[in-house]
Symmetry: C2
Subunit: 200 residues, 2 copies
């Protein structure tokens, strides 16, 4: 059996990776990884389902033992993608979708370069501005900061395998579905090709 | 403007690359290259349309000047894919489909490694045998020779980017369409990605 694909969807904030990943999960048979976090569960959140809720000590231990594919600190809380969870699914031939920021994606690439690294690009800075504005949850200054940092992040696209323009969700999802299908045809992902033919 | 893709569809005889390429030409906006040949035109064949009909001297000159992407001798006649013709189309952003045998594909890869190299595999040796038998144009011995050489050729799949199983024409064509779409999303094929975003 061939290994599953690790599909990493990443890009600057406001590029629309969340919406795209939701649609991919609807349309394809993809698995997601459950993150570990040190923050407290919110009402209705279930341990082992929404997150693995762990203590800071446990998180530190896991970090030292290099048990994360990537991790980040957000507002004093730690979040991480447990390595074993993801690698087990891949070994079982299951495809795994990871939606993460650029720093996280680059860390995953170092540990698992066999992944498929997809960068979502906004169709224009104008459109990115509109999208960030629409969220309306931020001050004008915070928004401008976010826009500037998104712009700086664009240059990281060259560290990725694929760059997908999010002009419409449909076309972006369509392109990513094609990328997944194509990656499964790659010769170096299906070493049993000839063996299977011999066996018949 | 991004360059066009050079899509090389290749594989052992009997794998079904001809049928697949015909269907691809029906469904996609692909260009084909016109081969040069030293054989005489058959009735109805038009110079510059079916082939460029040239003399052996001219062919030899072109060979010496490295004007072919690949060439072959078949029953004393020479066939070649003129380089300039193909490269011009690619520069103009046109995608070019080349259906060629394995030796030809490897020669193209040396000259133009940026191409997309796709190897068509028969679903099984049994099926390959059936297909070659169905043609019914050969003696049993010739058929067995062809089958043996097709089998030996399978190992060349590892020199290609993609291996596409031809279990049905539909699924093979579907996979190749996905490969073409995915290749167009490759970061290294669209260097203007960020530039386009800045310009808006």
């Amino acid at each position: 059996m061939s290994k599953g694909l690790l599909i990493v969807v990443s890009g600057p904030s406001g590029a629309g990776k969340g919406t795209i990943c939701k649609e991919l999960l609807n349309e394809l048979d993809l698995n997601i990884s459950i993150s570990a976090t040190t923050r407290n569960p919110r009402i209705g959140e279930v341990d082992g389902e929404n997150y693995f809720f762990i203590t800071k000590d446990k998180f530190q231990d896991m970090l030292l033992e290099k048990q994360f594919l990537e991790h980040a600190e957000v507002y004093g809380n730690y979040y991480g993608t447990p390595k074993s969870n993801v690698l087990d699914m891949l070994e079982e031939g299951k495809d795994v979708l990871l939606e993460i920021d650029i720093q996280g994606a680059l860390s995953v690439k170092e540990i698992y370069p066999d992944g498929v690294f997809i960068f979502i690009l906004p169709p224009s800075m104008e459109e990115l501005k509109n999208r960030i504005e629409k969220r309306g949850t931020e001050t004008k200054e915070a928004m401008l900061n976010r826009l500037e940092s998104a712009y700086k992040e664009l240059k990281y696209v060259f560290k990725y395998d694929y760059g997908v323009l999010n002009d419409t969700v449909e076309s972006a999802v369509d392109n990513i579905k094609a990328i997944i299908k194509a990656e499964k045809c790659k010769v170096n992902r299906q070493k049993n090709l000839i063996k299977n033919i011999e066996e018949v």
